[in-house]
Structure formats: structure tokens, C-alpha cells
């Protein structure tokens, strides 16, 4: 569906993207994750034809990406880009007109989109009266009017309540069932785990991991054993390797979690050490993210 081959982009002397190779299949919900300043937004803007790449090729359905491809792509920006003094209907009408939707077709698409984003009853309301979640949904709706094959969503759930987030997740699931391809960026790893079937980790303008969630977990994550004591008992863990703090307890990374679990259980029983939890810990996307990109604050965050 979308093939990105050797795409590079630099700003002055800084490389924003370096030889990116990604293949996105039709119907994918493809997650683009990475720390701030990693190059995700640059890649998204290139895919949306907002920016031009310096080198490499991008094809959509085997056709080169160009201005005319914009009718195949719907772009949902991170910022809420709506005219707040106007109604939801005014905003949708504007974007429908830009995509050359007219008359009956425009009305039908607007009705369908309002239904999809659950704002049918608020269509005549001024956007400034909307909650953050309603604005986010309308922000998405504006990108759906021309019924694009590909929807690019840049952190669409920032700053909204769980109900609105759930509503957006449902919308994404519905769109996938309709065969739409979704490119999704988020800083919420559990969100990416829940929504995306394939992921690319980008850091310093390069793809550092890429594939299905299972492939990435196999390649980059170690299982472990998690233990939580009734009282502080860190000294007893010094005999184990790869111990790290995790939540209220500790996690030990290992290739053989069951053997380690058995060994620890015996030792705690023998030494009468009271524990709250002792279990095999499955790797999560956030762990892989931190493992691949490190825990140091990035420039933007540090500021």
C-alpha cells in the first residue's frame, strides 16, 4: 500500500530522517513511535505532502506520492485545527468543499462523518462550546470527509478524557474494518499496543525497530520475573543479574523466566522473606521503547 524507501530529510545541517525504509500494508494500523524530536512528525508531514523529502521514494498503491495523492490521504494533525467561532457543520463544509465535494454527495458524507464521530446532534453548535474530546473527534471528522484510503493520525488522543479516548479507539477499529489504512503516532504505548498491528520505532531520524508487535517483542525484549516484597528487601536481590526497579517492586530480566521464578520462590520460602507478588513479567511496548531509545530526557523535554 505505502512503500517508503530510503527517505531522508534534513533541515540546514541537521538530519531529521536518514534512509527510512518502511512498508505499510493495506488495512494496517501502523504505529510510528519515538521520543520527541525523533523524526516522526517530519515523516508524517512528508507522507501528507506538507514537506518534501530530500532523497528516497514514497509510493502509494504503486504510484509516486504527489499532490494528487492528497485525495487518498486524510491527515489528522496533533493540534486541533478548527475554526472555533464557527459551527461543527461550518467546519466540515469547509473541508468538504476543499475536497471538491458538492451538493447531495457533500450532505451525505457530512451526515455519515457526523454519525461516525458521534456529533450528529451537535452539528449546529459552535465549536468553542465543545469539550476537548468533542473537538478531537471533529478534528478527525474533517479528515474523513473525502473518504480517504489512508488516515494519518498524529497523536489524536492528547489531553482528552477516557470516554472520548474510547470513542476514538472505537472509530479507529471501525475504520480498519472498512479496510482503511491507518498511520498512528502516540506517546501512549498502551494505546499503540491496543490499536496497532505493526510498529516502527524511530529515534534520531532512523528506524531502530520495525515489524509486528510480536516480532519486535521477540527481537528486542526479554521476559523477566517480577517481585514485590512486604518490606524493603533489595539486598537479597543483589545476587541476581539485570535487576531494575519497576512499580512498587523489582524486575529481573532473563531468557529463562520460569527457572528464575522457581529459584527465587525456593529462596524466599527458605529465608522466610514475606512477599506480596512473585510472577513472570511479560515485556511491554513501553519497556521495549525505553530499551531502544534510552531513559535520558530528550532536548525538548529537558527544556
Amino acid at each position: 500500500m505505502i512503500q517508503i524507501t530510503g527517505v531522508s530529510k534534513s533541515y540546514k545541517n541537521k538530519n531529521a530522517l536518514q534512509a527510512i525504509d518502511i512498508d505499510i500494508q493495506q488495512g494496517d494500523c501502523f504505529g510510528l513511535v519515538g521520543p520527541n524530536g525523533a523524526g516522526k512528525s517530519t515523516l508524517i508531514k512528508i507522507l501528507s505532502s506538507i514537506l518534501q523529502h530530500d532523497r528516497g521514494n514514497i509510493t502509494i498503491q504503486e504510484q509516486p506520492l504527489q499532490k494528487t495523492s492528497q485525495n487518498m490521504i486524510g491527515y489528522v494533525p496533533q493540534d486541533i485545527c478548527l475554526e472555533e467561532t464557527l459551527t461543527a457543520e461550518d467546519n466540515l463544509t469547509f473541508f468538504a468543499r476543499i475536497h471538491h465535494l458538492k451538493g447531495k454527495e457533500r450532505r451525505e458524507r457530512m451526515d455519515a462523518v457526523l454519525e461516525q464521530i458521534s456529533l450528529t446532534n451537535q452539528r449546529k453548535d459552535v465549536v468553542s462550546t465543545f469539550s476537548g474530546g468533542m473537538k478531537r473527534r471533529l478534528n478527525i471528522g474533517c479528515a474523513l470527509l473525502h473518504d480517504p484510503d489512508v488516515l494519518i493520525m498524529d497523536e489524536p488522543t492528547v489531553g482528552i478524557d477516557p470516554q472520548s479516548r474510547y470513542n476514538i479507539y472505537s472509530l479507529i477499529h471501525r475504520l480498519r474494518r472498512l479496510g482503511k489504512t491507518i498511520i498512528y503516532t502516540s506517546h501512549y504505548m498502551e494505546e499503540v499496543e491496543q490499536l496497532c498491528n505493526r510498529v516502527a520505532f524511530i529515534d534520531h531520524g532512523e528506524v531502530v525497530a520495525y515489524g509486528s508487535l510480536a516480532q519486535i517483542a521477540n527481537q528486542h525484549a526479554k521476559s523477566g520475573v517480577y517481585v514485590e516484597f512486604q518490606s524493603e528487601q533489595f539486598d537479597i536481590l543483589k545476587q541476581f543479574e539485570h535487576v531494575e526497579e519497576k512499580g512498587n517492586g523489582y524486575r529481573m530480566l532473563t531468557e529463562q523466566p520460569l527457572q528464575l521464578l522457581e529459584k527465587m520462590a525456593h529462596q524466599f520460602e527458605r529465608d522466610h522473606i514475606p512477599i506480596v507478588r512473585l510472577e513472570v513479567s511479560q515485556p511491554k511496548l513501553e519497556d521495549i521503547f525505553l530499551q531502544l531509545t534510552g531513559t535520558a530526557l530528550r532536548e525538548g523535554d529537558a527544556q
Binding site: I50, P77, T85, F94
Partner: protein
Amino acid sequence: MFSMYVLEMKKNLKDKGLIFWTLLLPIAFIVVFASIFGSDTTDQELTLHYVDTDQSEASAELLQEISTLKNVELVKEESYANSVEQIQSGQMNVLFHLPEGFSNDGSTHLYYEQVREEVAAPVIAMLENLRYGLQAEEQYTLAQEEWENAAMVAEFFTPPFTIFYEAQDSGGEVDAITHLIPGYAVMFTFFIMISMVTSFIKDQRSGMLSRLAATPLAPLQYLGGKWIAFITIVFLQVVILLLFGYFVYDINLGNVPAITVVSLLLALTATGLGLGLSLIVRTENMGIALTQVIALGGAIVAGLWMPLEFMPSFIQTISVGLPQYWAHQAFLDVMSRGATIVDIWPSLAMLLGFSILGAFIAWLSYGRYVKHAN
């Protein structure tokens, strides 16, 4: 382009600030300044307070002469001391005193507050004029009595030159309000730049510009749609202000096609330069500050507030380089001198040139404007 135009019009028509800047404020200015400058100044009366201590036939004669002057009102004061106190406290402007002995030596005193000399100036001019007039009259009578040669008397008292006042009818009506209304209309059209800067910077910062770049909307359609919306607003602004002048102050609009073309080209110029400014500035504050300089500075230098003839020659030279000057001249030509489109073509060409310049700057700056978009 039409979709962009409709969106911008809807946005702006809901903007109360825009209505204030484009209509309410200029109308308030016109009403206030028309009430100040619009009244007939030839009917204004000079009030002259006087105290006649001399109480002679000569003093009565002089006061009689003064009372016959047009637009002079004599007010008799009983107490000389009280009147001087009133002048010192600013309660009286001028006091004319004819002291005892006036009939012998002709001495009079004019009292006025030193810090308000300009208030006394017209009274001083009037009294000086009267003094020279009476002196000439006295000399003429004396010469007639003493000189035998009447021709010599007539020749002696004939002034060195004579003025024949011949006002030319330029086909229209010229009064203070006919100058004032187009002046303020021109000045306030340039305040549209504030709304334009705000709109473009908001698009750039809010992510709307990036979002639009991801749609089939071409840059020309984006710029054109927004520009035409602002042209429409400014054109309506000028039309409403001129119609306000027509219906409330009965000003002469002159040739309708000509006044329409001037209004349209003024709208094109103010918004064209606004377009250029909006795409150059980095911040809204910078845009607002530059608009103040362009709108207010341009209004002063281009003679929208006071006739250019009252200004230094270098200001008059600079004014020719300003769009406000050409727009104002075109309006005055049409409204006061009955000019048609053909008569004012140089002004129209200059306005068109300024609007093209603004649009050209905008086109050159568009790439950088998009590059800095969020």
C-alpha cells in the same frame, strides 16, 4: 478558492473586534471631528470685554466703531480690577481698557493671560486692523482739507496693488466634511492589516496551514480566498463610511463609477499591503506595531488629518510615495472637483501598483511562511 473565501467571510463577520475597527471607530471619529470642524467658522463671534474709565466722547466713539464690526460682541465690565483678576484666573480671555486720559493721548490697554496668547490673537488682529483703518481715514480727511490738488490726494491714498477675489467653481462642493470623511475612510481601511496579520499568524501557529497543505488546496487558492474576503470587507467598509457621510452630512459623492473604482482600488491596496505584511512578520505583535506605523504614520504624512499645504516641504515630498495620499487625492478629485475615472487615472494606477507590490511580497514570502508553520 471559494471555500476559503466563504470560511474567511464567516469568521470575520462573527468578529466583533473587526466591526469595531472597521466601522464603529471611524464613524465615531467622523462624528466627533465633523462636529468640531464642520460648523461654519465665519459665524463665530469674538467677545471683547471692556472697561471705559475715561467715559469721554472719544472713548464712546471708539467703542461705537468696534461695535459696528462684524462678529464682534462687546461686553461691558464695571470693575477694572475685578476683570484683571478674572483674566489672571483664566475666567476671562481678553479685556480692553480705555483709561482716564484716553481722549488726550489715545492710550488703551489690552489685557490677556500670557499662557493663552493664541486666544487673544484674533482680538489683537481685529484691533490693529481697526487702528490702521481709522488712522488712514483720519489722514485722508486731513489731506483733503489741507491739499488743494484732489488728484494728488487720490493718488497718495491709492494702495500699491488691488486684489480681486475670484473663486473658481470646480464643479463640486468643498467643505471641511468633504475633506474629512474620505480622509478617515482611507485611514481606517489600513487597520484591516491587524485582522489580516492575526488571521494569517493564527493559521500558521494553530496547525491549520499545515493541515491545509495536506489537502488539494493550492497556495494560490489559499492566499486568493483569504485576500478576496478581506477586499470585500474593506470595500464594504468604505462604501458604508461614504454612505454615512452622504446621508448624515449630505456630502457630495461625485461621479458614482469613479468613486466606486477608487473605493475598490483602495480596498485592493490596503489588503494587498496587508497580505504582504502578514506573510513577512513573525509575530502578531510585530504585525500590529507595523500596522500602527503604516496606518497612523501614513495618515499624518499623506495629509489625511490636515491639508498637506500646512506641512514642511519634505513631508509633502514623502507623501507622494504613500498609497494613502493617492487614495485621498482620488477621493477629493471625484467628490470636490467632479472628476471622472479618466481624470484620476494616475491615482488609480498608483493604487494598483501598491496592491501589486503587496501581493508580490506575499508571494515571495509564502515559502518561508509555510516553512515556519506548526
